[in-house]
Symmetry: C2
Subunit: 250 residues, 2 copies
């Protein structure tokens, strides 16, 4: 990837994990709705803009070869009006601008909340090692909240822009990202733990592999997992290094 990569939501949790490892590997153009506390913490240009601002997004994406689109209201309890504007309309703004600017790939931060209601009849067994139930990305979404609806809608938008405009699009249904140890006393979080370095590596794969339209799960290789990693491994070359079981915490 020689052209700049636009990173929306650069100051968030996932953006931080990505930049921690990959700051020097791409020509980043960071974007966030809030100005950075210290611009020196970010590589390259920093654009302050909201993804709901169509004109600002069109300017920001100009000249980029790829977009990593993380921006949005990240709260699982976010009210509808916020996810409608920030997550659904925001993603449409980003994708539409990307197509018009000739961007070839978009990596989209989707969420485990897009499929959370698969857990309803199966918990807590599916959080445990002995249970071999797996979601693999081919299943219809079952959002657990309106935030999850908005993320699944972003996947739909990506599907449309892939089919209509040949955009390479991958949706990463991110699990439970933590910087150091996996969540404690939280089986679900341990099942879908994503370590910082696995997160960065996965997004690195998303920026380099060849694919058309993909939905993958973004978790470490946890013994407790109920999300399949096959697609991420086969299509993207993802090779996770971490496993919440290695932390010996139940």
């Amino acid at each position: 990837m020689d052209d700049p990569v636009l990173l929306t939501g650069a100051s968030g949790h996932v953006g931080t994990a990505i930049l921690d490892e990959l700051a020097g590997d791409y020509e980043w153009r960071c974007l966030d709705r809030d100005p950075p506390t210290d611009p020196d913490d970010y590589p390259g240009e920093f654009v302050v803009a909201n993804v709901t601002d169509e004109d600002a997004i069109r300017d920001a994406v100009e000249g980029c070869g790829a977009v990593v689109h993380l921006a949005g209201d990240p709260r699982k309890t976010a009210p509808w009006d916020s996810v409608l504007a920030n997550n659904i309309d925001g993603t449409q703004n980003v994708l539409s601008a990307a197509i018009d600017a000739g961007v070839e790939r978009v990596v989209f931060a989707s969420s485990n909340h897009a499929v959370k209601h698969y857990e309803t009849e199966r918990k807590p067994d599916l959080y445990r090692t002995h249970d071999d139930f797996r979601l693999d990305g081919s299943e219809l979404p079952r959002p657990g909240n309106l935030y999850g609806v908005s993320k699944a809608s972003g996947e739909l938008l990506g599907r449309y822009y892939h089919d209509e405009h040949d955009l390479s699009f991958v949706a990463v249904r991110i699990g439970n990202l933590t910087k150091d140890h996996p969540p404690k006393d939280y089986e679900r979080g341990q099942a879908m733990w994503l370590s910082y370095r696995d997160c960065a590596h996965l997004f690195d794969c998303c920026l380099t592999a060849d694919y058309d339209y993909e939905i993958v799960y973004g978790i470490s290789d946890n013994d407790r997992k109920y999300y399949s990693l096959e697609n991420a491994k086969e299509v993207l070359g993802y090779e996770p290094l971490d496993n919440s079981a290695d932390w010996n915490e139940e």
Copy 2:
């Protein structure tokens, strides 16, 4: 169904087909954003309101046992801002109000455009009788336009309200509805033709059958079909009477 049934988009094409056959079978509460040319054309109360008007929708749904939600921008070329407001936000308004009012079932007019890009590599063969490719509703959407994205997003909202609040929800991916003969010189339209009487019968089934969350295709039993009718027949008891092939038009 003893309680009133709210019919949004009552003056549209699908609403007309439903009321043509079923005006006397339910206690309808018709709703449309435009006042009727002649209120006597509609059974029961007629509410003039836009589905984007949250308060008006909350009032309209009060006391209803079911909602048939047809309202929205029906243009396959509708711009994003319109489908975002009228179709996505409008459907959320209807579903949220329905839940709060204790409505037990919502029948949602989805569209063939939610899956149109499955046709891209397969046309025109899949429009022809010899081709046995079938979509059955279990597949991930592949919208053909932003209108299709909005309809697939409505299906997601329905899934959430079903899983979270036990709402019975069926999405009918409506094909090509015409009042008299099937579309002429249009293979795709003949493949997904829905006659007026089959349309009314299908929505009647949706208002009486027992189901949880379903996605069905709304077409007549056309020889040319590439949408499966199995789900509609098995779950809803749909028994279509028409077939575009009977019109002997290629």
